[in-house]
Amino acid sequence: MKKIKNFRYRHLLLLFSLCAVILSALTGCTSAKADSRIQITFWHEMTGPAQVQLTKFVKEFNQSQHKYTVVPQFEGNYNEAVQKILNTHGTSASPAVFQSMDISTSQIYSSGYTTPVQKFITADNYDVSKISAVARAFYSKNGQQLSMPFNTSQPVLYYNATLLKKYGITPPPVDPSYSDITRVAQQLYERSGKKVKGLSVEIYGWLFEQFLANAGESLANNQDGHAGTPTAVNFTGTAATTTMKWIQENIKHGSFMNYGSGTSASANEMAGFLSGKLGMFLQSSADISQLTAGMKDQLGITYYPHPDGQKSNGVSIGGASLWISNDKSTTVQRGAWEFIKYLMKSQNQAAWQAATGYLALNKDSQNEPVLQKLYQKTPAAKIPSQQLARTTPNNTNSGIFMQGLIQERTITQTAMEQIYNGKNVTSALQDAEKQMNSYVQTTNKANK
């Protein structure tokens, strides 16, 4: 009896080792890639058409020369990527060049994990004057370019022009105030027999920041951090309160659609807009290409709305920039820089805007045929660039230089969620402000 058991057991063992051998052989095959080129790992957070276009650029770059191979890797959303970048620094898993969002600039810079692109600009005598000054300024410190602005967007208001026409509603003006938007939203909701929601503002901290910027109010003290490390935030000023009350008024009326927050929120928002169930929404200009591709109706675009009774101060840019890690060899860093230069080429920037809706940062791009064609087909596509062009940069609309802005977004988003679900505006904002202030104090203490 014992013998039989032994026999079976041996069989099992054999089977096991066989499986192990096959598996290890397979892993060996797939991971062994013979390539004499220098590998440049590139981390990005682009989704949808932007990812498609970016992958295309990478492919073209790899074909255009024989020295480097750029390997793109998608790392999830902007928030996730920041800690991944900081956490992997100095290991073999870390990227050579990475994309990191606007509000992480201060944090990435102070980590000391990157080589400022200024070093390569100077070495190459690279002509930066071709690159949009507003965008460059956002990512530089003391006249030194820290990173290269890449995907740069403007927040705008989208509306379904065909739908408004159908119900005989005058579209919002190019530079609308809150009450202009309210009017259109409510008319649309009522005249459609409550079938079409008028307006949506995604629960997104970026949009909250832009409301303050456009009203000319600082979100953090020390002039949004441009004059020193901020020690307190301002969520309870007139701008924030007025805006949130305006949204709540629309929610009460019923014309407002709340899609929530997070990745699926913006996807659902866009799906709602494309299927004609939503008339207007505030979102990044980066959505333009998806909207024009997916929409049968005519698309309308206006500037970001501003509070009544004042002129708009202009919004800051959004998006992300490209950084070069300093934990890789000089050759790898050089390769990363070559790739960045490639992306900034006039025709590539034009293709980028045409494919995504992010603004072309190279001034020569405007003359490229791709963009000319786009403007001819969809004149509204010009609006974001025009909004950017008419904005005079000042300390309230040039971004916020402070650490812990991811926390700021989490907290303001929670406040927005509470407000959207009916909580008193003032108390929600006060709670958020209190929370953020204590966070700022701890952060400053920990990083002293």
Binding site: K2, K5, N6, R8, Y9, L12, F16, C19, A20, L23, L26, T27, T30, S31, W43, T47, G48, P49, Q51, V71, Q73, F74, E75, G76, N77, K84, N87, T88, T91, S92, A93, T263, S264, S266, A267, N268, M270, A271, L274, S275, Q290, G294
Partner: protein, 276 residues
């Protein structure tokens, strides 16, 4: 038994109703998932779920345009090695707790038990730093090495080893079998049902890992399927529902098939466990 069949008609109808209701609750998400995986996304986003444009296009797209097969392969590798290692190391430590006599055995056993009280989720921060310092980030090893053994597996196998008749051990001592021989040729074959259960358990546990791989993998070359699906879902800013449902189906269909084939064995194993 007879009562159920010969009972009043309305009672049987009631039972059938409850059965069907419960079955629907379980089935609908599956069926809807599979159904939408056959539809073009354009139809889904218009809300016309009763479309007649049925095709396998989404599956084709998922397989050719996304690394879903690679994700599956990664998961297979990780789960397989985790399973094999746990079978080996858990059985070895369980053997020590049952058949070896040494000072501090009981204390050590309680120490093992204590680890079952500490959730891995509460330890990810230092563990991340550890694997980073070991240079394991973004590799299969990072998802296998921390799970090479488990206190739970040791505990379970110990229970099973305790069932081995003492006479066997005595006989082996008389025959002069070494511990290794006794372990390999008597203990292991004798406990194969428990080993099989542990294998299934550790394979599944590894297959379902989500948080840890999400923190430690950074490229599609090593990402397991759970996080791969997350990746696919978050990349599709345009909600390509058809393709996402198809990827989910690609992941779930093999497990369902294995489950249905293995169910018979699994159930009898279960009953055996329960009846004992």
């Amino acid at each position: 038994m007879n009562k159920n069949i010969t009972g009043p008609n309305f009672q049987r109808l009631g039972q059938l109703f409850v059965l069907i209701l419960l079955a629907l609750f379980i089935l609908i998400p599956f069926l809807l998932g599979f159904w939408t995986s056959l539809l073009p996304t354009a139809d889904i986003s218009k809300g016309s779920l009763w479309s007649s444009h049925i095709s396998l296009d989404n599956y084709y797209t998922a397989i050719t345009q996304t690394p879903i097969i690679r994700y599956l392969f990664n998961s297979l590798v990780i789960s397989f090695f985790t399973m094999a290692a746990q079978l080996l190391f858990c059985s070895m430590s369980a053997y020590a707790f049952v058949f070896l006599e040494f000072k501090g055995r009981n204390t050590l056993f309680y120490v093992f038990l204590a680890t079952m009280m500490l959730p891995f989720e509460a330890e990810v921060i230092p563990n991340f730093v550890t694997v980073r310092n070991m240079g394991l980030l973004n590799h299969y090893a990072v998802m296998i090495i921390p799970f090479l053994t488990s206190a739970f597996g040791t505990f379970m196998l110990r229970q099973s080893f305790l069932q081995i008749p003492g006479e066997l051990k005595e006989a082996s001592e008389i025959e002069g079998l070494s511990h290794w021989r006794f372990y390999a040729s008597v203990v292991m074959p004798y406990s194969r049902i428990s080993l099989f259960t542990l294998a299934a358990y550790s394979f599944l546990a590894s297959w379902n890992q989500y948080l840890w791989p999400m923190l430690t993998t950074f490229s599609d070359d090593f990402r397991p399927v759970q996080d791969g699906l997350r990746q696919l879902q978050s990349q599709e800013s345009f909600n390509n529902w058809g393709m996402i449902q198809a990827s989910a189906a690609i992941v779930v269909i093999p497990t369902l098939i294995v489950l249905f084939i293995g169910q018979h064995y699994f159930k009898s194993g279960l009953n055996e466990g329960a009846v004992k």
